[in-house]
């Protein structure tokens, strides 16, 4: 007999519900993992594209070859849009905090890109010893965001 003050024996319903919650949490973890892989790949792609565009801007633009410059700009734009569309199309979800992490990485990458362009314009330097590491540094924030392990 059960009344208001008598603790019930472990309820099979409660156990079943806890099992359902555990199954749900497991499914959520799997979704989060898929989301992390997709968004990580996207962040790395964007970082590498921006770094390559920096190198293209520094080495090809000053040559004054209009066709090559236009080709690089168009290729960059097309690849960036394709990456964004593919990500938007297939993204299974987002992990908590992903948008903020990506936004931070993107801003740092863009700042490094802009500073690189500014330095290149003012110094006219094309030495690979400067620009290859600079390009790597430009891509790095988004690559780090992309490779960052999942939380919890």
């Amino acid at each position: 007999m059960t009344d208001e003050t008598t603790p019930e024996s472990p309820s099979p319903d409660a156990q079943a519900l806890l099992a359902a919650a555990a199954e749900g949490a497991e499914a959520g973890t799997a979704i989060a993992h898929r989301a992390r892989v997709a968004s990580g790949a996207f962040a790395i792609t964007v970082g590498v594209l921006i770094a390559l565009f920096l190198l293209g801007t520094i080495y090809v633009y000053p040559l004054g070859q209009i066709t090559a410059s236009v080709a690089i700009t168009v290729a960059y734009g097309v690849l960036l849009v394709a990456a964004a569309l593919l990500y938007r199309w297939g993204r299974p979800g987002a992990t908590p905090g992903w948008r903020q992490q990506y936004a931070k990485g993107f801003v740092i990458t863009i700042v490094l890109y802009a500073v690189g362009i500014s330095v290149s314009t003012s110094t006219q330097s094309t030495t690979p010893a400067l620009w290859v590491p600079w390009a790597v540094a430009t891509a790095l924030p988004l690559v780090i965001v992309g490779l960052r392990p999942e939380r919890g």
Binding site: E4, T5, P7, E8, S9, P10, S11, D13, A14, Q15, A16, L17, L18, A20, A21, A22, E23, G24, A25, A27, G28, T29, A30, I31, A32, R34, A35, R88, W89, R91, P92, G93, A94, T95, P96, G97, W98, R99
Partner: protein, 105 residues
């Protein structure tokens, strides 16, 4: 004589009726692990049909536990599901109550 007011409330009183449906509970527990998730991916992960997921998601949306965001990717309609802060708090309370019942507290 028992002083009813002084007796601690049994944890079953904290059980959330909305979350007593197993699929609904699985859904909200899954959403608690992500910022948002695409409808088809959730359906596949929870191994339920479109209609079951739609119905349970709508029930959770009606009480403000889940948010449904509809949009398009190209011409294809997509729905994104996410848990709200109210839903997260309700899930935590519900799980605590269930755990207390199972533990016989």
């Amino acid at each position: 004589m028992t002083d009813w007011a002084a007796e601690p409330r049994h944890p079953r009183h904290e059980v959330d009726e909305i979350l007593t449906a197993p699929v609904r509970l699985s859904l909200i527990a899954a959403l608690a692990r992500v910022e948002d998730a695409e409808f088809g991916v959730v359906r596949e992960s929870l191994e339920v049909s479109d209609s079951v997921l739609s119905k349970q998601a709508a029930a959770l949306e009606a009480v403000g536990y889940v948010e449904l965001r509809k949009g398009y990717v190209g011409k294809r309609p997509r729905t994104w599901l996410s848990i709200t802060p109210v839903g997260r708090a309700a899930l935590a309370r519900h799980l605590a109550a269930l755990t207390a019942i199972v533990d016989g507290i």
